[in-house]
Amino acid sequence: MWMLLSGLLLGWSLGANHTANVFGTGVATGTVSYRAAILLTAVFVALGAFLEGPKCMSTVGALSRLTAMDAFHCALAAGIMMSLLTFLSFPGSASQAIVGAVIGAGILSGTADFSKLYKVVVCWVFTPFLSILASFTFYRLFRYVLDMIDASLTQRNLIYSVGTILIGCYGAYCLGANNVANVTGVYVGSGVLSPFAASLIGGFSIAIGVLTYSKKVMMTVGKGIAPLDPFSALVAVFAGAFTMHVFTQVGVPVSSSQAAVGAVVGVGIVGDIQTVSIRMLTKIVVGWVSAPAFAALLTCLFIKLDRMGGFAAFFEIFR
């Protein structure tokens, strides 16, 4: 069971890093308190992982033929990568880190299945575009509905504050449903865990990350990317969550950061506002490219070290 430790680390760092995509703008604009945001995220992430998590589980593990030890190395490399990005306040991509790690392990063992990688990469490319389209559409739709209701200032205030919380909960649910496969999908592929157990353990570890270390990235995402008004924040979170939910049904774990940034860009296009700072976008893009590459390299390094008798000997101490 000690081999699950790396998955728990990855889950923890994913929770710490990705809560920002759900409640970052809500917390930064003061609509939701940080405490309420992390509590709600933890509950709904676990619920999403439990109910819909198994849908994406097979995709990650199918990219290479992994042994139980390979799964441990992949999750460890991706976990270290994500923890580093969290520490540096980069909103990085766990999907790309774990896929990079699995492909790295596959290249080393000669079992990497690039035909399946194709589907994953296509989904990655489509994530920001679908997110832009979704936020553009939802912005127009919600605006139309709000104008139809003809809500007063106090009613709008109520709609925005309650809506941000409800949509945040939906976002957390979609994050858990889609991204739990990044955390424990490798264990399903290697036969260590059943999809159900993997969803349960993955959801729990993400929730712990949310509760313990998510403040820093949340503030970076919320305040750094876009000074959004409450309506735009609401639409952006919903569009990002909707995009992830769509890809959950397709069975591919995608980057919630890409979905979130795409949604913010979409809101910027329709609202004719400058929503994204170039500096912040550069930071994110560097994270996207570097995460899979470094995760693949780290995995190869860990496997090589292990073959020299490193990890197994270390964990023998705890037996």
């Binding site: 604009t29 003061g30 609509t31 308190s33 309420a36 003809d150 809500a151 007063s152 200032l153 106090t154 009613q155 709008r156 205030n157 109520l158 925005y160 504050s161 309650v162 919380i165 008004d229 409450p230 309506f231």
Partner: protein
């Protein structure tokens, strides 16, 4: 907090908007009283204007307290507080001008124009109240804001005429000249501050659309 907000259906917010409306109604009342007092050279009525400014202060404090107790989204709070403070500046100007009016007799050649300025100030305060009501219902404020700007421009034009006329009036000593100058300056500045308040209403309106 979420459930409290949901089930109270914005009670705190309604309290704030009711108090803000009361603040603006009081402003209309004070502007009207000031105009009547100036017209009739009624010093007792000027005392009422000064007293009512204190009421305005207490409403401002109540509104700001309610806002910081959690009414409205934090995103909106600074603009709402700023609006209330700008309206309170109008009360301060009215009080100062009323104090000058109590200590000096308005010269005959300036009286009619000054009364017209006071009347336009009153009309502007009514327009500001109407603008506030429209903002609460999320209506477009552009026409009302334009009307306020037109009133302000009119008062600006009258201000130069009053200053020209005031220069022809002989003054007995430095202090009587200073008080007359401050009175004219206060009276003609009220419209600027009401215009600022109207601009803030538009900011609130746009940011919550």
């Amino acid at each position: 907090m979420f459930l409290e907000r949901l089930f109270s259906s914005g009670k705190k917010e309604r309290d704030v908007t009711e108090k803000m409306r009361r603040h603006l109604e009081l402003l209309c009342d004070v502007c009207s009283k000031f105009k009547t007092a100036l017209e009739n050279q009624d010093r007792n009525l000027m005392c009422d204007v000064i007293d009512l400014e204190r009421q305005g202060d207490s409403i401002r404090r109540a509104v700001i307290s309610l806002i910081y107790e959690g009414a409205f989204l934090p995103f909106l709070r600074p603009d709402l507080c700023k609006f209330v403070e700008v309206v309170d500046e109008v009360f301060d100007l009215l009080k100062d001008t009323a104090t000058y009016c109590r200590s000096t007799e308005l010269p005959e050649p300036l009286r009619d124009e000054c009364v017209r300025v006071a009347l336009l100030n009153f009309r502007m305060s009514e327009m500001l109240l109407s603008s506030f009501d429209a903002m609460l219902k999320n209506y477009d404020l552009r026409e009302k804001a334009l009307a306020i700007r037109i009133y302000e421009k009119k008062i600006d034009d009258m201000k130069f005429y009053i200053i020209d006329e005031a220069q022809k009036i002989p003054v007995s000593d430095f202090w009587s000249g200073k008080i007359l100058s401050d009175l004219i300056s206060g009276l003609t500045s009220i419209s600027d501050v009401i215009e600022d308040a109207s601009d803030h209403l538009q900011i609130i309106n746009i940011s919550m659309r």
